[in-house]
């Protein structure tokens, strides 16, 4: 039986981890849930952002968080270009399938270019406060993990408000659901879809930077993230930002707690077990998701 202190520490770690997962999955809910694009390259972009943060820190010696000033607009622009240049040219009938392949191709290219530019070496940002931590009711909370959690909370809240409350959010959903009808009510569908994708990639910039604060990165790391992130958005209900956040916290917590009795490897299976359970019981996801199971 694990001690109370270990349990509490694991809960804290699990929540912090879950927050991180939520941030990393945020972009996926956007393109996968709302835009019907299976974006395999999302985690590759996360790693790219993490590399840029690392590089900023390594070369310029400034705090990696500062790199956000550049990477967020940069990724937004890249997202717009990607959507306009590639995804919008795919046939709507086969969009889902072809988007898997085209984004897979992008992921390969990013991995290859990262390997080319930075070699396959494992990199980790060296921060003055990298090992700093404080005590909270007997558990230790690492400062870097808390920063990542904060970034996650802020970005997710912003995303939620944007999708639910703004004209842009409505226009984006309308564009994806019936492009001709959206054009006919006066929506500039090209621009809207482009911005939607850009937004998704902008969250990848934030997520990647947060990721870089406390983990090692290497070019092929993105494969490691695809499965868990996909599981999160399916469990959370495709297209639902709050759903993804809730699922991420829950799965992060579950993984952290399960590691105590089961060890790290088996604990990872919790994502897939949850994924299969969700699809078997409630294909539309547990938290959000409405008609989404049928696309």
């Amino acid at each position: 039986m694990p001690s109370g202190a270990l349990l509490f520490q694991s809960i804290i770690l699990g929540l912090l981890l879950g927050g991180m997962y939520a941030l990393l999955a945020a972009g996926l809910t956007l393109y996968f849930g709302i835009m019907r694009v299976v974006m395999i390259a999302h985690s590759a972009f996360l790693i790219l952002a993490a590399y840029l943060a690392w590089w900023t820190n390594d070369r310029l010696g400034v705090d990696p968080l500062l790199s956000l000033v550049v990477t967020v607009p940069l990724f937004f622009g890249a997202g717009v270009l990607l959507q306009r240049g590639l995804l919008s040219r795919l046939r709507p009938a086969t969009l889902t399938m072809m988007s898997v392949l085209i984004t897979f191709a992008i992921a390969l290219m990013i991995e290859g270019l990262l390997g080319y530019a930075f070699t396959g070496t494992q990199r980790r940002i060296r921060l003055g406060y990298g090992t700093a931590s404080f005590e909270l009711f007997g558990a230790r909370v690492a400062v870097v993990k808390l920063i990542a959690f904060g970034l996650a909370a802020v970005s997710l809240a912003a995303l939620y408000v944007l999708m639910k409350r703004t004209q842009f959010g409505w226009a984006l959903r309308a564009t994806i659901q019936h492009r001709d009808a959206a054009r006919l009510v006066g929506i500039d569908t090209e621009r809207t879809a482009g911005f939607g994708f850009g937004l998704g990639l902008a969250t990848a910039a934030v997520g990647g930077t947060a990721l870089s604060l406390d983990t090692t990165i290497y070019p092929s790391l993105h494969w490691h993230w695809i499965g868990p992130l996909m599981a999160i958005i399916v469990v959370g209900g495709l297209g639902s930002v709050p759903g993804a956040a809730a699922a991420a916290l829950l799965l992060g917590l579950a993984q952290s707690l399960l590691q105590i009795p089961m060890g790290a490897t088996w604990a990872q299976t919790v994502f897939y077990v949850a994924l299969f359970a969700t699809l078997a019981v409630r294909p539309q996801g547990f938290f959000g998701g409405r008609l989404a199971q049928r696309f």
Binding site: W170, H178, A181, L184, V185, L291
Partner: protein, 241 residues
């Protein structure tokens, strides 16, 4: 002067043979022109060209005398041309509210939006009743009504309707035809495609029979209705009741 005019339009899809082969039509303000024709004649294609969804291969599209050939739907809407698509085009995973309010996407005046929303709720009670449901979960006819409501959120000079009565029950059909008459009376130019051809021609001022991508015959709606040969080929014999 006609509010909208298509001149000698040739249009088609992809690399296939053209669907419209030199089609012309003009709709003056305050007039309802009804377009009828067999399935696959190209009626929807005409409306797609007129609304900017499809660029013609040749020919011209004039709106209020201005040449807008090749302009996109956004531009057309700005010039006062609105289209209600055939079939179902609600935003399925958005609520009726979101659907209807999106109809007023180009309106920036909030009070105007609210006023119009109230108007469509009154006109089509279903819309008000199911205000917070997902549009994709409504029945076929209910969705059609939501689409019509959506198009009523703006006040265009030219309205293009592609079989607005399809799937509607008799009451809702009447509501829609009444609304068409009201629009005409307010000076709107209406180009109406209907398979409910007799009913439509009774409402319309001018009729136009389309076949093989060309105008087969056109004239005052009443004349077309009276032509027995047209009746057999395009309008259907009125079954003995």
């Amino acid at each position: 002067m006609s509010e909208i005019e298509l001149v000698d339009v040739r249009a088609g899809y992809g690399r296939a043979a053209p669907v419209l082969r030199g089609f012309s039509v003009a709709v003056p303000a305050g007039t309802v022109v009804c377009l009828v024709g067999p399935n696959g004649a190209g009626k929807s294609t005409v409306l797609k060209v007129a609304s900017g969804l499809l660029s013609p291969r040749s020919g011209r599209v004039l709106v209020g005398g201005k040449d807008l050939t090749g302009a996109g739907p956004q531009r057309m809407l700005a010039e006062g041309v609105a289209l209600v698509l055939q079939g179902h085009s609600v935003f399925r995973e958005m609520t009726v509210e979101e659907n209807v309010l999106l109809g007023g996407y180009t309106l920036h005046d909030r009070t105007e939006k609210t006023r119009r929303a109230r108007f469509v709720k009154e006109l089509l009670p279903v819309v008000g009743e199911r205000w917070n449901s997902l549009a994709g979960l409504l029945s076929g006819g209910q969705q059609k009504q939501v689409e019509f409501a959506r198009s009523l959120m703006v006040d265009p000079k030219v309205v293009l309707l592609d079989e607005p009565s399809m799937g509607l029950d008799p009451k809702a059909t009447s509501t829609i035809f009444d609304q068409v008459v009201r629009m005409r009376d307010a000076g709107t130019a209406v180009l109406l495609v209907e398979q409910n051809a007799r009913r439509a021609l009774e409402t319309a001022d001018l009729g136009c029979v389309l076949d093989l991508g060309r105008v087969h015959i056109s004239g005052p709606a009443a004349d077309l209705l009276a032509d027995p040969q047209l009746g057999e080929l395009y309008l259907g014999g009125r079954p003995a009741v």
